[in-house]
């Protein structure tokens, strides 16, 4: 007997819960200005999240998937990305969109339930959110293949949740990227819960990162609440992307509900949540910045005010948008088939549409 295969998974943490840095792992290209930028985006992401949740509760937004608690995973990944790299979200990466410079009004328009919120400028190099779990990983793999084929030098990051790693599409995407050596960094935003299913019941595998082994690619774990650790691990994976894909498992925690359609008190104990409160991804960056005299209460207040102002502006802009129902007909094919034109003409002339329009304008 001889050993046919030997594999292992490393775990990284650069900044601990108290804001202390492991200098041996600190990324050389990172400076305090960039850490301040990360902090601002994390803070903005949390504020945007709270606003979206409140709008949903007021009936001003549709079902919403909160990101609170997962800011470090999202902002750390986004900040590691090069200008030409691509970003493929699932349905919870509002933070990444923010840090990539996508207008918040677009996000709020999406939260209101309009496709127009997905009109991401092509040069922003991102795909819109994908709701069917893990299906987007295939797109990320194909997009990465295209970068290699076209020799753009760009790479792709694709996000999936812990539950998504149980889907066939997840493995198929890793396998394709591995065999074609495509520049993909697959990021598992492991927030421990897939709606009501805990991580422990999702798979018997000890880590999710080890699922990379089956695809023959490297897999690493990182403290997903450590923005610097996430930045470092993603940056390293991107630097290696020309040689092929990497799977990164970011270990974080979903502090809120899966979406506004469920109540987590029904399926998880509060003690679990309390443990993770102490590992807050934003508090530790603030502790680090405060120790270096780069942050104080005054600056925090100014940031909070600024966030609320820019969010309110974005909401106002998004809420001033009036959808044109004809648009649902106009973006189906590259041309308008006769049979669809006929349906559009009939709908546009109908009392049904006129009634809906009047009701919507009256806020009914």
């Amino acid at each position: 007997m001889k050993k046919a295969f030997d594999g292992s998974v490393n775990y990284y943490q650069v900044m601990d819960e108290l804001g202390n840095i492991d200098q041996s792992l600190f990324p050389r290209d990172l400076d305090d200005n960039k850490i301040l930028e990360m902090y601002r985006y994390m803070s903005l992401a949390r504020a945007l999240d709270a606003k979206a949740l409140s709008l949903q509760r007021q009936g001003r937004a549709v079902t919403y998937a909160p990101l609170v608690g997962e800011e470090a995973t999202q902002i750390g990944s986004a900040m590691a990305l090069g200008k030409d790299d691509y970003f493929v979200p699932n349905f919870r990466q509002q933070g990444v969109f923010l840090a990539r410079g996508f207008g918040m009004d677009g996000l709020f328009l999406y939260f209101r339930g309009y496709e127009e919120g997905n009109m991401i400028p092509r040069n922003m190099h991102a795909l819109p959110g994908a709701v069917p779990v893990s299906t987007q990983m295939q797109h990320a793999a194909g997009l990465a293949f295209a970068q290699k084929y076209l020799k753009t030098g760009a790479s792709v990051i694709g996000f999936v949740g812990d539950g998504g790693t149980s889907e066939g599409d997840f493995y198929e995407a890793l396998n394709f990227a591995g065999v074609t050596k495509s520049p993909l960094v697959a990021i598992i935003e492991n927030n421990q819960w897939a709606i009501s299913m805990p991580r422990s019941r999702q798979t018997a595998a000890q880590t999710l990162a080890q699922k990379a082994i089956a695809a023959g690619i490297p897999g690493v774990q990182v403290d997903g609440n450590d923005v610097i650790g996430v930045y470092k691990v993603i940056k390293d994976a991107l630097a290696n992307a020309k040689n092929g894909p990497t799977l990164v498992e970011c270990i974080t925690y979903r502090m809120s509900m899966h979406t506004t359609a469920d109540d987590p008190t029904k399926y998880r104990p509060q003690e679990d949540v309390d443990v993770w409160k102490k590992r807050d991804p934003i508090a530790r960056v603030r502790a680090y910045l405060a120790k270096k005299n780069l942050w104080n209460d005054q600056k925090e207040q100014a940031l909070t005010d600024q966030n609320l102002r820019s969010i309110d502006e974005a909401v106002e802009k998004a809420e001033s948008f009036k959808g044109d129902p004809a648009s649902i007909f106009e973006h189906v094919y590259s041309y308008m088939p006769d049979i669809l034109q006929e349906e559009l003409d009939a709908a546009a002339a109908s009392n049904f549409w006129q009634q809906q329009q009047t009701q919507q304008e009256n806020g009914e």
């Binding site: 691509y86 493929v88 496709e115 127009e116 997905n118 009109m119 991401i120 400028p121 092509r122 795909l127 819109p128 994908a130 069917p132 299906t135 990983m137 295939q138 797109h139 990320a140 793999a141 194909g142 997009l143 990465a144 293949f145 295209a146 970068q147 084929y149 076209l150 066939g168 599409d169 198929e172 995407a173 396998n175 394709f176 065999v179 648009s327 649902i328 973006h331 189906v332 094919y333 590259s334 041309y335 088939p337 006769d338 049979i339 669809l340």
Partner: protein
């Protein structure tokens, strides 16, 4: 002009498309060295290199899903599903994403992609190798569904499909791959998508058909010496309603012949449109000829399942006696 069967015509189309645009990539299971299980991609990897014509791991959802990513990333993928029965594994990618991306992004991201697959039976194959999924891909909108019945159309439709900025499901009737040869131009040409062909003019009845049933209908009409107008639909979705209605209004009788099973089949949609828009110009009820409403049987029973000339001839007699 060169005499070609459908396989040669499709191979020729892919060759011209690969030559024309280096953003075109051709991939799927066994499409490289093996040239595809039906040899549609034969010789293309050798000619254009493994970078442009390549074998993928065995995963149909991945073939469709990565094609979507490639198309979003600026390529023009032409993917092959080895058999329609296995294509159901890619159904989620096709209906949840390929069909929806243009609408979802308000045309910011469009998907120029073609997914080819052999369809229909009659060639004594194993289970899952004989079905025709045309109706599933036609129902939700957003996907163009094309199905040629001869080598000339096959080449021109595939070229047109690859030139469009839409996801196209390209269904190739296995039985017709090598059934007959036809004069096909060697140069690039397009056959319009969304446009049916009136392949025979007539005054007494209209027969709307496509794919494997086209030669069956032609023979049945010839045997009966019926004065029938035969329409080859060519594009299942979006439907060319105009050609159907104008013919039916002329003849006053309509028959739809397809190989997929009867219930909720494309014939139901076509019959409903005729009923809605031309019922007072009919002098007999619309007739449908299709396979029975049950899953495709094993090859031992398929001759009892697929409509044949006899069945169409009987239907013509019945319709003409109404």
């Amino acid at each position: 002009m060169v005499l070609m069967n459908m396989v040669a015509a499709l191979n020729n189309a892919l060759d011209l498309l690969l030559k024309e645009n280096d953003k075109v990539v051709v991939f799927g299971e066994d499409v490289g060295k093996d040239g595809g299980v039906f040899r549609v991609t034969d010789g293309l990897m050798q000619k254009y290199g493994e970078n442009r014509v390549f074998d993928t791991p065995l995963a149909e959802s991945m073939i469709a899903g990565t094609a979507i990513g490639m198309a979003a990333g600026g390529l023009r993928p032409i993917a092959e599903m080895q058999f329609a029965g296995f294509m159901f594994l890619s159904f989620s990618q096709m209906v949840n994403h390929a069909a929806r991306y243009r609408g979802r992004t308000r045309s910011t991201i469009t998907l120029p992609m073609v997914v080819r697959t052999p369809v229909s039976g009659g060639v004594r194959t194993l289970e899952h190798h004989s079905e025709n999924p045309e109706i599933y891909f036609s129902h939700m909108g957003g996907l163009i569904v094309v199905e040629p019945s001869n080598p000339y159309d096959a080449k021109g439709l595939l070229i047109k499909a690859a030139h469009m900025d839409d996801p196209v499901v390209f269904l190739e009737p296995t039985k017709l791959y090598r059934l007959f040869k036809q004069e096909v131009p060697e140069n690039m040409y397009e056959v319009p998508i969304g446009k049916a062909a009136t392949i025979q003019e007539g005054d007494d009845l209209t027969i709307i058909t496509w794919g494997t049933m086209v030669p069956v209908v032609k023979n049945a009409v010839a045997n009966k010496k019926a004065n029938a107008e035969i329409i080859d639909l060519r594009t299942i979705n979006p439907l060319d309603e105009k050609t159907i209605l104008s013919s039916v209004k002329k003849t006053g009788k309509a028959m739809i012949v397809h190989e997929a099973s009867l219930t909720f089949g494309p014939g139901a949609e076509i019959a409903a449109r005729i009923a809605e828009k031309a019922i007072f110009e009919l002098d007999a009820p619309v007739m449908r000829v299709a396979s029975p409403s049950l899953p495709y049987p094993y090859p031992g029973y398929e001759n009892f399942y697929i409509p044949n000339e006899k069945k169409v001839e009987e239907a013509i007699d019945k319709l003409m006696s109404d």
